[in-house]
Symmetry: C2
Subunit: 150 residues, 2 copies
DNA sequence: GTAATTGCAAAGCTTTTGCAATTTA
DNA sequence: TAAATTGCAAAAGCTTTGCAATTAC
């Protein structure tokens, strides 16, 4: 494999891009940040801060969880990551990609994905009505097909 | 005023209705539940468990916060109340009314309301696509008009 | 050199839970 | 009397924060 520690082609560039995003706001390129961002990029979908910390520490055991939280917060502030509150459990973090949203069942807790298409019209309506620009990663709550309505 | 402790005309009936809802699931009518439900009904919009506890304790100082949490949970399970996670802060609880949703700005934290009309089409699309029935009280995140997009 | 970043540990906050005592049906 | 409910206190879980040491610029 090219790159360091099992990275995938293309990922390195994405990691650097995100470090650039942080650097653009006065941030610095540190080993910890690179490890965290790399682990984040290597993640398919959403992760909790806890899961991400575990993945980071698999490669870089010295990186502390509080640093993970701080980097996630910095990415969020820069608009590169989204924190999706899921309710009872820890927040789910995504890199901003904008291709799906989440549906969380308030009965069984299961989380499904739904494409952005269904939400696009809503986003337009909300923006027209209120000027509010919806996130690329919403968490919509309700009852899943299995748990039914009541 | 009619009724006990500054209640408003019509509210008493609503309080009893909610106690009925709980009773229908095997619940019992207790003084604590009546105080909590009354305070909840007397609240215009959303409250946190903490705020609700304060209001309850203004009239009934002996009611414990854990009881407030348990009643909210029971109302949620009965479909009479909705817990809306707002992100950093405590969850916002609503009686199910179904006339609006919330928009939370991830930059400034401000929460706006938006009517159900804008969401109705989304709800239909999501249900058609996934069988998922959206909640009557969603919390949609994004950036408000003031904070703009980035 | 200066400001940002980090690790560590501790604190903060909301929410949940165990249990004995009390109350409702 | 049996089951549900309550208060109290403690625990749990996620996230944030103070601070001194380190590191990037």
């Amino acid at each position: 494999m090219a790159g360091h520690g099992g990275s995938v082609a293309g990922s390195d560039a994405e990691v650097e891009r995100l470090l650039d995003v942080l650097a653009a706001e006065g941030g610095r390129r540190t080993a910890a940040r690179r490890a965290i961002v790399a682990a984040f990029v290597a993640t398919a979908g959403a992760v909790t801060a806890d899961e991400l910390t575990a993945r980071v520490q698999a490669d870089a055991p010295d990186v502390n969880q509080s640093t993970v939280y701080r980097v996630l917060e910095a990415l969020e502030a820069a608009g590169a990551a989204d924190r999706a509150e899921t309710g009872r459990e820890a927040a789910a973090w995504h890199l901003v990609a904008g291709d799906h949203h989440h549906l969380r069942c308030s009965v069984c807790g299961r989380v499904e994905e739904v494409g952005t298409d269904a939400v696009a019209a809503l986003a337009a309506a909300v923006e027209a009505e209120t000027g509010f620009v919806l996130s690329d990663h919403l968490v919509l709550t309700g009852r899943c097909a299995r748990c039914g309505r009541r």
